[in-house]
């Protein structure tokens, strides 16, 4: 795969570069050199010890460096049925921005939303001020690869003081008869004192093999507020890697919430840099996995300045032979006094074959800090079980109530009510074995046999 990508990179320079600025092309070259040196990350690296990409890269993937989609009726492609959720909706199909009207819109309040490829053409100066400044291609091999090939994705710019009322919904769809290798790149810039909510949905419309390596850069400038929700409901043959780089400035607030309902292979990395005081950075996650699904969440938070707060809460329920990895790293630098950092990972395993590797790391060099971490792997409390049965609940209902309660600690953190209700409902359905990956799309499923996953609560 590395050889193919190298060959492609050298041969297709013109197509890859497209309209990118000289600065972006320099970033590209730098990142590509890094990738050549390091290659795909292997399990010899500490952060990849429990997640092996090798088998996923054996497929002969199709890589499209030219956008073949234009003027697609996105509503026909996919309709989100989160009732009452009024969003500004954007679709990315197989890594390319697809649109019905215009590739890039400028709202009356100055907010720019649309295709990154188009933004590189129309707003090169604006992009040059940001792109690559949050992403770290030296330490993250997959981000280096993404940067080398960056072409299209979502671009959002919220000007100073603008609160974008409607959440922006990004629907990321993979729909291809052949195995595809995709590398969308997203950039979100929240200017001073601005506010924005992004709901990011990852779906596959088929059960075909795909590999998505996404990078997103989030710039939260002074006093801005960014909420980022990710709903991952993918087919069993899909591999989804997301790396989100967050750069927070003074008094900014960033909140992320990743709900992984299904997916063959999922790895989410969030890398946060708190560059000034007064930052609040909250990161929540919930993963419900079964069969041979693998989900890996890596959070790195760098308290590079004093007086900021970060919080991580990730919870998971695993059935069958599912595997989960959690690594939460908090670095509190010597001068970063009055830091508050909390981290917690809780798991419930339903079988002996399900496995969790959880690693909290706190690296603290300052002395006036408030930090905590915790990780649990366990089963449901038998005392609570008896208590509920003694009130007349059958074992199944008791388990379900407790499971839903376990999951809802994360779901409750969703502040958009319609989305919270819908996610709560999806989690309930997922735990009752009633959610298939096709549940959210009007097409239902292109595949003849819809996938039904089932977390079997009776195994508890």
């Amino acid at each position: 795969m590395k050889e193919r990508l190298t060959e492609l990179y050298n041969k297709e320079q013109a197509a890859i570069r497209g309209n990118s600025s000289p600065l972006i092309n320099r970033l590209r070259q730098h990142a590509f050199t890094r990738f050549l040196e390091k290659g795909f990350p292997g399990t010899d690296l500490e952060s990849w010890r429990f997640t092996d990409l090798t088998p996923l890269l054996e497929t002969d993937f199709e890589i499209n460096l030219r956008n073949r989609f234009s003027n697609i009726d996105t509503e026909k492609l996919f309709t989100c049925d989160v009732y009452d959720l009024d969003t500004f909706s954007i679709t990315i199909l197989n890594g390319w921005f697809v649109h019905k009207f215009a590739p890039l819109s400028k709202l009356s309040n100055g907010t720019i939303i649309g295709s990154l490829a188009k933004a590189m053409e129309v707003y090169p100066e604006l992009l040059d001020q940001y792109i690559g400044r949050a992403a770290n291609t030296d330490n993250y091999e997959m981000a280096a690869l993404n940067t080398a090939f960056l072409q299209d994705g979502l671009f959002i710019y919220v000007p100073e003081g603008v609160k974008v009322e409607k959440p922006i919904q990004l629907i990321n769809i993979v729909d291809s008869p052949n195995p595809v290798f995709l590398q969308p790149r997203h950039v979100l810039i929240a200017g001073r004192g601005s506010g924005i909510t992004l709901v990011h949905c990852d779906h596959s419309l088929t059960h075909n093999v795909s590999f998505t390596n996404t990078v997103m850069e989030v710039f939260a400038e002074e006093d801005s507020s960014v909420e980022h929700y990710k709903i991952q409901n993918k087919g069993r043959n899909s591999a989804l890697l997301t790396t989100t780089f967050v750069k927070q400035e003074r008094n900014s607030s960033v909140k992320s919430n990743i709900i992984t309902l299904n997916g063959g292979f999922t790895r989410n990395t969030i890398d946060v840099s708190l560059t000034d005081r007064g930052c609040v950075s909250d990161h929540y996650g919930l993963y419900l996995v079964d069969s041979n699904q693998h989900v890996d969440n890596q959070i790195n938070i760098d308290h590079a300045s004093a007086g900021s707060k970060s919080n991580q809460l990730y919870k998971g329920i695993l059935d069958d032979q599912a595997k989960a990895v959690f690594s939460g790293k908090v670095l509190v630098r010597r001068h970063s006094q009055q830091t508050e950092a909390h981290q917690n990972n809780k798991n419930i395993l339903l079988t002996d074959d399900a496995k969790v590797n959880t690693q909290p790391h706190l690296e603290i060099y300052a002395d006036d800090v408030k930090c905590s971490h915790g990780a649990t792997v366990g089963q449901l409390d038998p005392e609570a079980m008896f208590y509920m049965r003694s009130r007349g609940l059958c074992e199944r209902s008791a388990r379900q109530l407790m499971m839903i309660a376990f999951a809802s600690e994360v779901v409750k953190k969703i502040t958009i009510e319609a989305l919270r209700k819908r996610i709560h409902n999806m989690v309930e359905k997922r735990l009752k074995g009633e959610l298939s990956i096709c549940d959210q799309c009007v097409l239902h499923c292109n595949s003849k046999e819809p996938t039904t996953f089932n977390i079997d609560l009776s195994k508890l």
């Binding site: 409390d381 005392e383 609570a384 008896f386 208590y387 509920m388 049965r389 003694s390 009130r391 007349g392 609940l393 059958c394 074992e395 209902s397 109530l401 407790m402 839903i404 309660a405 376990f406 809802s408 600690e409």
Partner: protein
């Protein structure tokens, strides 16, 4: 209603209840008193269906059925209620959701239609008055972060909602101040009917000033060694458990 005959129970081979007999009829209030470690809570747990105990011999008949063969949830649906000495915290599960599920599963078992949301809320409002419970409490997670008094009130609130035929209250008075005790006792008395029965398990006579028992039994070393009327509780309070213990040592049957 409830006949316990010759019941022996052990845990990990250690005998706890030894050939115990007890008869509870409709409309009666029984108090079981005894020192710590006498087997009071074990007896309550066995009736409610906790499965960590081994029943070595004897039988328990409830409403003409073999109680020991029923799983815990069936016992509850058949009208048995255990007020826990240490109510369990269930994070994330609201009392309202918990109780609605419990009531509707019981109704389903009895062949009744489930209560609608509105009907349930109405029922809940009505029963809140029984124990003076604050409105907010029912939206909170079951027992999570509750004070001792709130936990016990919550038990009585659940009792009121489930309207059992046989309520067993295991040390419901422990950890309560006198005001909370009065509220709890008042709740129990309000729920008393001709066709239901209550078994109050307690260490102290104090609760029995407010819940007047028809019968008092002294449980000691896994056996009921003395039974009497409500005056027995008073006597125990004055003379202490040593009185029965000494009497027992000199004569197997306390006169």
């Amino acid at each position: 209603m409830l006949s316990i005959r010759n019941l022996s129970v052990s845990i990990e081979g250690k005998p706890i209840i030894k050939r115990l007999n007890l008869e509870v009829k409709e409309g009666e209030v029984h108090a079981i008193m005894g020192p710590n470690g006498s087997g009071k809570s074990t007896l309550a747990s066995v009736i409610a269906g906790r499965d960590r105990f081994d029943v070595d011999e004897g039988e328990v008949e409830y409403m003409g059925q073999n109680l020991l063969e029923m799983p815990a949830e069936t016992r509850a649906r058949e009208g048995i209620f255990l007020g826990f000495q240490y109510p369990v915290e269930i994070p994330g599960v609201s009392i309202a959701n918990f109780m609605r599920t419990a009531i509707n599963e019981k109704r389903k078992y009895l062949g009744l239609n489930p209560l609608s949301g509105a009907e349930f809320i109405k029922l809940m409002e009505e029963k809140k008055k029984v124990v003076d419970i604050q409105s907010k409490l029912t939206n909170r997670s079951v027992n999570e972060g509750f004070s001792g008094g709130e936990k016990k009130k919550n038990e009585i609130f659940q009792l009121a909602l489930l309207e059992p035929r046989l309520a067993i209250l295991d040390e419901t008075d422990s950890g309560l101040d006198i005001d909370a005790l009065k509220v709890v006792a008042k709740g129990v008395n309000k729920l008393k009917r001709k066709d239901n029965a209550t078994v109050v398990i307690t260490h102290y006579q104090r609760l029995l000033d407010y819940i007047i028992p028809d019968f008092v039994h002294v449980l000691y070393d896994g056996r009921i060694i003395k039974s009497g009327g409500k005056e027995l509780a008073q006597e125990l309070e004055e003379k202490g458990y040593d009185w029965v213990k000494k009497a027992l040592a000199s004569n197997q049957e306390v006169k």
